[in-house]
């Protein structure tokens, strides 16, 4: 039994073990890795992706995929910058997450009312959202160099970037939601066995819609951090982030088949990839190998967890 237990432990915490190994290796290989400045930068740079991955966890546990969060991010970027320039910077920051919430809600409706698989539905809505973002911005960059707008992405609180605070707070709220509330329990039940959930009197469509709405909200929240940091709204922002977010969730060990997973796992997934990236930078290795390495790591992590899922 001990061997089986060891294997189980490895599978369960594969992502943390990999992170620990990387931290040790990078510390030994470079003096500039284990510095407060470098670590804080990694957190700061990856906060928006981490926020999106945290919410993507809910979508994947409920048994779906959201390929539109990148496009919602673009919508958030464009609307927040446009509002900041033309109306009020604070309104821009405040409204963008709720634009995301509305778009995510629309995703949920499309999936449950039209009964389309979320994979397909969100490919379609991603194109629609992206199209609207291009139309709103007229295809141009919207410059928003206003202090009342850029404080969120550039400022610090207690010596730590605001973005990191937002990320931590958001992840804690989602963790609470998922592990301590009836909503969270229903999310696990719907993803684990939808038929059983229905027969237990759960309105499964509502749960799915809520999960997608939260993913949309997170994409909007992530977008204001990035947009305020770079002081630019653009319709190409967020390209490819949906796949990075999904990869991070799966890398963390959340089941791709739904029903199992945790928010902290997705954050760990994001930062595992971030550490690999950072290692390539500080060690000055040819970036040609970066994608190759990342791909191998994802494949290895997913392979390890698949070993344990042969029921």
């Amino acid at each position: 039994m001990t061997r089986a237990k060891t294997l189980h432990f490895l599978q369960n915490y594969a992502v943390l073990i990999l992170i620990a190994l990387l931290v040790v290796a990078l510390t030994l290989l470079s003096d500039s890795f284990l510095t407060g400045r470098n670590l804080l930068n990694i957190l700061n740079q990856n906060a928006p992706l981490a926020i999106m991955a945290a919410a993507m966890t809910l979508v994947i546990i409920v048994g779906g995929f959201d390929l539109s969060v990148g496009a919602i991010f673009a919508m958030g970027s464009v609307t927040s910058a446009w509002l900041a320039v033309n109306v009020d910077p604070y309104l821009g920051l405040l409204l963008a997450p709720f634009v995301g919430l509305a778009l995510g809600y629309a995703n949920g409706l499309a999936i449950t009312v039209l009964r389309v698989h979320s994979f397909l539905a969100t490919i379609a809505t991603a194109l629609i959202f992206k199209g609207i973002a291009v139309a709103v911005s007229d295809g141009r960059l919207i410059s928003a160099r206003i202090d009342d707008f850029t404080w969120l992405g550039r400022g610090k609180f207690l010596g730590v970037f605001n973005s990191v605070w937002v990320m931590v707070l958001f992840a804690l709220v989602l963790t609470f939601l998922l592990t301590r509330t009836t909503f969270g329990r229903r999310v696990f039940a719907v993803g684990g066995n939808e038929e059983a959930a229905i027969l237990s009197g759960i309105r499964t469509n509502r749960i799915k819609i809520a999960a997608f709405a939260i993913a949309g909200f997170a994409a909007g929240l992530a977008s204001i951090i990035t947009t305020s940091r770079v002081a630019l709204g653009q319709a190409t922002a967020g390209d490819g982030m949906e796949l990075q977010a999904i990869a991070a969730v799966i890398l963390g060990g959340t089941s791709i088949y739904g029903g199992q997973g945790a928010v902290w796992r997705s954050l760990a997934g994001v930062f595992l990839l971030a550490l690999v990236n950072n290692g390539f930078n500080i060690l000055g290795i040819d970036p040609f190998f970066r994608d190759l390495t990342m791909g191998l790591i994802i494949l290895a992590a997913v392979g390890i967890s698949a070993l344990g899922q042969r029921r």
């Binding site: 009836t182 696990f188 684990g192 059983a196 959930a197 229905i198 027969l199 759960i202």
Partner: protein, 502 residues
């Protein structure tokens, strides 16, 4: 006898989890015979058919084909040895044509490029066998009977000498059944063998040469059909001895009508004119496999669309959704534990609390202490083993999973409890626990509907029993005055009457 057998098995045993479905079965299939496999629901006839066809792996026993002992036996090996199986659910590719399906995997090709000769080859095959179909018709456009012909042609294309047919007549009309029987006879006359698994006694008496009767996973005997009648078969299927299971005492003291169903009609054949269950009453539904028992339950709870009225304690359900039924207090323990009952990725505790989340939370936040206390209480009450609140339910035995599934519904305050196969695949101990809890719930005034393919279980639990045939309640019986054999005979009779009417 085993010398000239085409296919013979010795000591075949099959276990699913901790349940023994078949044990120690010996069987010889001779060349050129139609061999019937019969038994009560759950006697193991279908399982044996699937083992012979290589679809299920036997846990013990030997399989010999043409005198050669087989070291492993799966579908490809079986096919290579001339044994084909025709499943109850046909295994065809709907988008391909008839000819493409028949020669699936046997296509003539040049370096992997198809020659497209399937239709022409099928013509020859149809010429030989006398089965006619349009080779270029799309499979999905054909009736079930026609699709079965494809399966038979497929077996012939692979030069099969033994064809296992698992309940092939379940969805056929009378004339289609006659046609299938003609095909079976012509296969036999060519020297091939057919293993015919069915629960239709008339069919088996009409067409087979020999019949093997199974009971509780064991073989009773194999005999020539010529000497058998319906009566001899029924008594062989039931056996002389009565199983000694203790059932909870039945209460005759019932309250008001709690569940009232009128003119319930669903597209999949349910037609219930009137069904009333009083508080504290246990009503049973007995019927043969495929008689539409579960469909009645699904229509009542709103899992399948239906018309008609369902009332709970005088309140008419208007939306006819599962959520509404659950709120009104009707709950159903479904027959398929894994598919519809439990969430395998959640622990025992979360499975039990799933229908009661609102009661176990305040302001949307789970009340963990109360949830654990509830789960622990039910685990003790039902004697779930291992008795771990956060146990991994996917690793539990069938009986303990079933206890968790039932415990899930004991926690609330159900007014109407529908149990579909409450003790299927469950060991004797768990069975008694489950029966005891059903009795206890009834004594608390819950209206209970029990559906089971084990007639004995329905008779033992219920105070009133309805016989079900083709989605209708055809007869009401008093379970204490009627024996299992009489019920079975009555069910076969209704089935026969239905056949004659067609």
């Amino acid at each position: 006898m085993s010398v000239d057998a085409l296919l013979s098995v010795r000591g075949i045993g099959v276990r699913f989890g901790d349940v023994e479905v078949l044990s120690g079965v010996d069987l010889d299939i001779r060349p050129g015979e139609i061999h019937g496999l019969i038994g009560e629901n759950g006697a193991g006839k279908s399982t044996l058919g699937k083992v012979l066809g290589g679809y299920y792996r036997a846990t013990s026993g030997k399989i010999t084909v043409g005198g050669q002992l087989q070291s492993s036996w799966d579908t490809p090996t079986a096919l290579a040895n001339g044994v084909a199986i025709m499943h109850q659910e046909l295994q065809l590719v709907p988008a391909l044509t008839v000819a493409q399906n028949v020669f699936l995997g046997l296509e003539e090709n040049v370096n992997g490029i198809l020659r497209g000769t399937e239709a022409a080859r099928l013509e020859t095959l149809m010429e030989q066998s006398g089965l006619r179909l349009d080779p270029n018709a799309r499979t999905s456009s054909l009736t079930i009977a026609e699709q079965q012909k494809i399966e038979i042609l497929r077996a012939l294309a692979r030069k099969s000498r033994v064809i296992v047919m698992d309940e092939p007549t379940a969805s056929l009309s009378k004339s289609e059944i006659d046609q299938l029987h003609r095909i079976m006879r012509s296969l036999r006359d060519e020297g091939r063998s057919v293993i015919y698994v069915t629960h239709f006694l008339n069919d088996i008496l009409e067409v087979t040469d020999r019949i093997t009767v199974l009971r509780n996973g064991e073989k009773v005997h194999t005999r020539d059909t010529a000497g058998e009648t319906r009566e001899t078969l029924v008594s062989a299927m039931l056996g002389g001895e009565k199983m000694d299971t203790l059932y909870p005492p039945k209460s005759r003291d019932h309250g008001e009508v709690v569940l009232s169903v009128r003119d319930l009609i669903s597209p999949n054949g349910t037609q219930v004119d009137r069904l009333e269950i009083r508080g504290g009453e246990i009503v049973g539904l007995a019927g043969l496999v495929g008689a539409g028992r579960s469909e009645i339950a699904r229509a009542i709870i709103g899992a399948d669309p239906s018309t008609g009225s369902v009332e709970v304690a005088g309140k008419v359900l208007t939306r006819r959704s599962i959520a509404e039924a659950t709120e009104a207090g009707i709950v159903m323990v479904p027959e398929d534990r894994r598919g519809q009952g439990l969430v395998m990725s959640l622990p025992v505790r979360a499975n039990i609390s799933l229908p009661h989340l609102r009661a176990l939370s305040s302001g949307g936040v789970m009340a963990k202490v109360r949830e654990r206390a509830l789960a622990l209480g039910l685990i003790n009450q039902l004697d779930v083993r291992p008795a771990i609140v956060d146990g991994d339910v996917s690793n539990y035995s069938g009986g303990n999973q079933q206890k968790v599934l039932i415990g899930k519904w004991l926690a609330g305050d159900p007014r109407v409890l529908i149990l579909d196969e409450p003790s299927r695949g469950v060991d004797v101990g768990a069975r008694e626990t489950i029966h005891r809890e059903i009795g206890r719930l009834a004594s608390q005034g819950v209206a209970i509907l029990v559906i089971s393919s084990e007639i004995e279980e329905v008779l033992g639990l219920a105070t009133r029993v309805f016989l079900v045939d083709r989605g209708r309640l055809v007869d009401e019986i008093d379970p204490d005055r009627v024996s299992e054999a009489e019920v079975l005979a009555a069910l076969f009779n209704h089935q026969g009457m239905g056949d004659a009417a067609e």
